[in-house]
């Protein structure tokens, strides 16, 4: 192998490693564990900071069920504080029977992706982990 070809191969490997590391570092895969009340309090204290920490991130969320909605999208509401709750929007096709399996007052744990704060904190693609 000529020295020119060797250098081309070395540069290609370095570029490949660099791109892979950059991709992996920008892809947040860690699941953040948080309670419903902690999440609501974090958003009410500082929405921008909470967005940096939670928005677009897979979270594992534990809280008490206050309401179950069948439509327009199956959603379980968890207690946050008096006025601001957590809406866990269930993952399409996976949790269609879930509203029948959990009840108001149950303490449950969901995994899902945090969308952010409106009046409630919205979590999408929720799957029930335990109840």
């Amino acid at each position: 192998m000529s020295s020119k070809v060797k250098w081309v191969v070395i540069v290609a490997i370095v570029l490949l490693v660099g791109v892979t590391v950059a991709e992996l570092s920008s892809f947040r895969t860690d699941t953040v564990k948080v309670s419903a009340q902690e999440l609501v309090e974090a958003y009410l204290a500082d929405e921008a900071t909470a967005d940096v920490q939670y928005a677009g991130v897979m979270i594992q969320l534990t809280g008490v069920v206050t309401e179950i909605q069948e439509s327009p999208t199956p959603t379980v509401i968890l207690y946050g504080n008096g006025m601001n709750q957590i809406q866990c929007v269930l993952k399409t096709g996976v949790n269609q029977s879930l509203p029948q399996r959990v009840g108001v007052g149950d303490t449950v744990t969901f995994t899902g992706v945090c969308n952010g704060l409106l009046m409630d904190v919205i979590i999408r693609d929720c799957s029930l982990l335990t109840n």
């Binding site: 967005d51 677009g56 327009p72 999208t73 809406q87 969308n115 952010g116 409106l118 009046m119």
Partner: protein, 183 residues
């Protein structure tokens, strides 16, 4: 947070008076793009809306990440390349109905109102004037509105390679269902 404060103030103020603000936490907004190559529809079922029946003030807020597409790749492109949801997470509308609605709240029927205000998408605010249909029943007020948004007006850049996939004007339809306060 300022928008949330605005809505909370509406709610708190009217809870102290005789008339309560009407709030829907699960409104729906659908946008439809009719382009040369394909039609694209996305739905958001977690839209927050507040309506002050005495002043006729309206406030709507939604998270851009809340729009669900038929294909996950479309959703990814929408959030990352077009509306930049991480930088501009919300779309909002603050406006006023042409007149208060307290007089019609106890009169079941269908009513058409003009509404005008400011629509903010992608961090850019533009005036919006449209109409809203209110259907009053014994316990609820259902609101429906439809309007078009020029993508360019809100600084959303569509790469030339996909220019035929995304319409220049997107049709937005929103539905809200407000529970009337119990007397």
């Amino acid at each position: 947070m300022r928008f949330l404060t605005f809505i909370l103030c509406l709610v708190c103020f009217f809870q102290n008076g005789q008339t309560q603000a009407l709030v829907d936490r699960n409104g729906t907004s659908v946008f439809f793009s009719d382009a040369i190559v394909e039609d694209i529809t996305a739905t958001n079922n977690q839209v927050l809306a507040a309506l002050d029946p005495v002043k006729g003030t309206v406030a709507v807020s939604m998270l851009m990440r809340g729009f669900k597409f038929e294909k996950s790749l479309m959703e990814e492109h929408f959030n990352e390349n077009y509306v930049e949801s991480e930088k501009f997470p919300k779309a909002t509308f603050k406006g006023t109905l042409e007149k208060p609605i307290q007089d019609i709240m106890t009169k079941p029927g269908t009513y058409l109102f003009k509404v005008s205000g400011d629509l903010t998408i992608h961090g850019i605010t533009r005036p919006l004037a449209t109409q809203v249909t209110l259907v009053v029943t014994a316990g609820t007020i259902a609101a429906t509105t439809k309007f078009t948004v020029r993508v360019e007006d809100h600084g959303i850049k569509v790469p030339s390679i996909v220019i035929e996939n995304i319409a220049e004007e997107v049709e937005v339809t929103s539905n809200f269902n407000f529970q009337k306060p119990t007397q």
